[in-house]
């Protein structure tokens, strides 16, 4: 199980992580060896075994639909690195006002 640099770059793009060339090479080696270790799971016969996503019994959790006091806009924005007029501010997403 050997990952290529291109595969590492693809995963980093999916994960939205900007990596240096050294990091890419380091993760290529380390992830390759961790994934090689994980191939032992392919030896387990899980033909009719259901997957476990949660250890709890499956159940629906509902609450009464009661209006509660929300956080104020100031509180919600208190950690925002960039804000304007009570909104989170981000760089332009679409060009030319489209």
């Amino acid at each position: 199980m050997q990952l290529t640099i291109q595969e590492v770059e693809h995963i980093a793009e999916l994960a939205k992580l900007d990596l240096s060339d050294e990091e890419k090479e380091q993760y290529r080696e380390q992830l390759s060896s961790i994934l090689a270790y994980a191939t032992m799971l392919q030896n387990v016969d899980t033909g009719d075994i259901p997957p476990t996503a949660s250890v709890l019994p499956e159940r629906s959790v509902l609450r009464a639909d009661i209006v509660q006091e929300p956080l104020t806009p100031e509180t919600v924005l208190q950690n925002a690195p960039h804000q304007k007029e009570q909104q989170f501010k981000v760089p332009i997403v679409m060009e030319n006002g489209q």
């Binding site: 590492v8 995963i11 980093a12 999916l14 994960a15 939205k16 992580l17 900007d18 990596l19 990091e23 380091q26 993760y27 380390q30 992830l31 060896s33 961790i34 994934l35 270790y37 994980a38 032992m40 799971l41 392919q42 387990v44 899980t46 075994i49 259901p50 997957p51 476990t52 996503a53 949660s54 250890v55 709890l56 959790v61 609450r63 956080l71 509180t75 919600v76 208190q78 950690n79 925002a80 690195p81 960039h82 989170f88 981000v90 760089p91 332009i92 997403v93």
Partner: protein, 488 residues
């Protein structure tokens, strides 16, 4: 009594109730000890002395004004909180640069329960970044030192909380445990640590790592002290849909050490080649002690144990890759200056996260990605079912399962930093508990030839924390290991 900071939780509460000491005196004595030891131990990321003294004064005032009143159960008791649990208006970093200046707008339910019970908060303790690690070496800010030998790690990820309790800088501390992050540092630091059943304790305000595995846990010097805190934090929380509406028993720990009728299973798969000789010897001796107290020791098998490590590292990292997607430099946290939104996401995350966090996000993203999902994540979820069934079948025959906490005692700082797989192997005995969702209790049972503590783990059926606390209480009534304190 040489030092107020040697008090157990029960002793401290009794002295407070009797008016023999004030919360202010007790809090000041812990703050003094923190000031003296923190330069060497480095257990805290943020200290909150002003808040602590104000809380202590309020506690003393409430007690003074209500001499015959019904007062909160923990009124005036100082505690420390791992820096992954939110406390309103106090910086919460998760040991990460990306949250270096993050101020939560709310308080975690567990912390709120303790505040309602009257505690005083001394500070927020060091952790591996986002609780990912086994040594605190992945903290962006500092590595905590083991109070028993400062060249060694305290374990992790809740190493700051464990070291603080071990060093007498706090009588009790909260931690979190996703794959062993309470039990392994408790073992390395010679204290007692509880990971409750998944769903027993609210996760609201615990900044998420692996949501199907995360539990809030507790550190203290004894099962008796853990029980006092556990009763306060356990129970259903409307803010956490995975918290279960199952009554929390009032835990009565008496002086009975007769364990006749109790069956303790010892799984062969946990006594493997590679386990440190001193660890096996001390754990075997402790198991013999339980037998001497009347428990029946039964050899059992948990046949899928060897798969727990790869299953854990695929499921936990997959969940982490989704949970940590929220750190994008928009709503909170470090935000890189970039011309486009996508570049801001990538640069904020690339620079804000440390190397272990990025490694786990990459691994989890790979396990969830198109073409690999079934082979890695899907297969891991199925093998998780087999691991869970191993426990269900074992608990049809035994009340508890006894194992070492970790294959080694505390390793040296720097020993595993270049080999992630070797670091992951430190968790092989604690991961299965989280995968099955069962409770685990770690407690000290001796020392290795270097004078480092050895820990044993008892695991129990879902929601049977009381059984584990009673068994360990019986052990601690008849042994002295939990009373050993490092010479500082």
């Amino acid at each position: 009594m040489s030092n107020l900071s040697d008090l157990s939780v029960r002793q401290a509460l009794k002295l407070l109730q009797n008016g023999d000491i004030s919360s202010l005196e007790l809090t000041q004595s812990y703050l003094d000890r923190i000031q003296a030891l923190e330069p060497q131990i480095k257990a805290f990321i943020t200290l909150t002395p002003e808040m602590a003294l104000a809380q202590a004064k309020s506690a003393d005032l409430l007690r003074k004004n209500n001499p015959d009143g019904d007062l909160p159960a923990l009124l005036g008791l100082p505690i420390a909180v791992k820096d992954v649990l939110a406390l309103k208006n106090v910086r919460c970093t998760c040991g990460s640069r990306i949250l270096e200046n993050f101020i939560p707008a709310y308080t975690a339910t567990t912390v709120q329960h303790l505040l309602d019970a009257g505690v005083v908060i001394l500070g927020k303790t060091n952790t591996d970044e986002f609780a990912m690690g086994s040594s605190t070496e992945n903290s962006a800010f500092q590595t905590t030192h083991n109070p028993w030998n400062q060249d060694h790690v305290p374990g992790g990820s809740s190493g700051g909380s464990a070291a603080a309790v071990s060093a007498g800088m706090a009588p009790v501390a909260l931690g979190s445990d996703t794959g062993g992050s309470v039990r392994q540092p408790a073992s390395f630091c010679g204290i007692t640590g509880l990971k409750p059943t998944y769903g027993r304790v609210s996760r609201f305000g615990l900044i998420a790592y692996g949501s199907s595995l995360d539990s809030v846990g507790i550190f203290s010097h004894s099962a008796e002290d853990l029980a006092v805190i556990f009763e306060q934090i356990a129970g259903r929380d409307p803010k956490d849909a995975t918290s279960m509406n199952i009554p929390v028993p009032a835990i009565h720990l008496d002086s009975n050490t007769d364990l006749r009728g109790v069956r303790i299973g010892v799984p062969t798969e946990y006594f493997i080649t590679g386990i440190q000789a001193d660890v096996e010897k001390n754990v075997r001796t402790a198991i013999q002690h339980f037998e001497n107290l009347g428990a029946q020791i039964v050899e059992i098998s948990l046949p899928h144990t060897e798969y727990a490590l790869p299953v854990y590292y695929l499921i936990a990292t997959a969940e982490a890759s989704a949970n940590l997607a929220r750190f994008d430099g928009v709503r909170y946290g470090y935000s890189a200056e970039a011309a486009s939104l996508w570049e801001r996401f990538k640069q904020s995350r690339g620079r804000g996260f440390g190397s272990e966090v990025k490694r786990r996000i990459m691994l989890g993203t790979y396990a969830l990605s198109a073409g690999y999902y079934d082979a890695y994540y899907g297969q891991a979820q199925k093998v998780r079912t087999l691991i869970k069934r191993d426990f269900e079948q074992a608990f049809e025959h035994v009340d508890a399962i006894a194992t070492p906490v970790a294959p080694t005692t505390a390793f040296k700082i720097g020993e595993h930093t270049n080999d992630p797989l070797a670091m992951y192997l430190e968790d092989i005995f604690t991961l299965p508990t989280n995968l099955a969702g069962v409770p685990g209790l770690a407690f000290p049972v001796g020392f290795d030839h270097q004078g480092l503590p050895v820990g044993m783990q008892l695991m129990g059926p879902h929601f049977k924390e009381e059984t584990l606390l009673k068994l360990v209480h019986a052990y601690q009534l008849s042994t002295q290991w939990h009373k050993s304190m490092p010479d500082l």
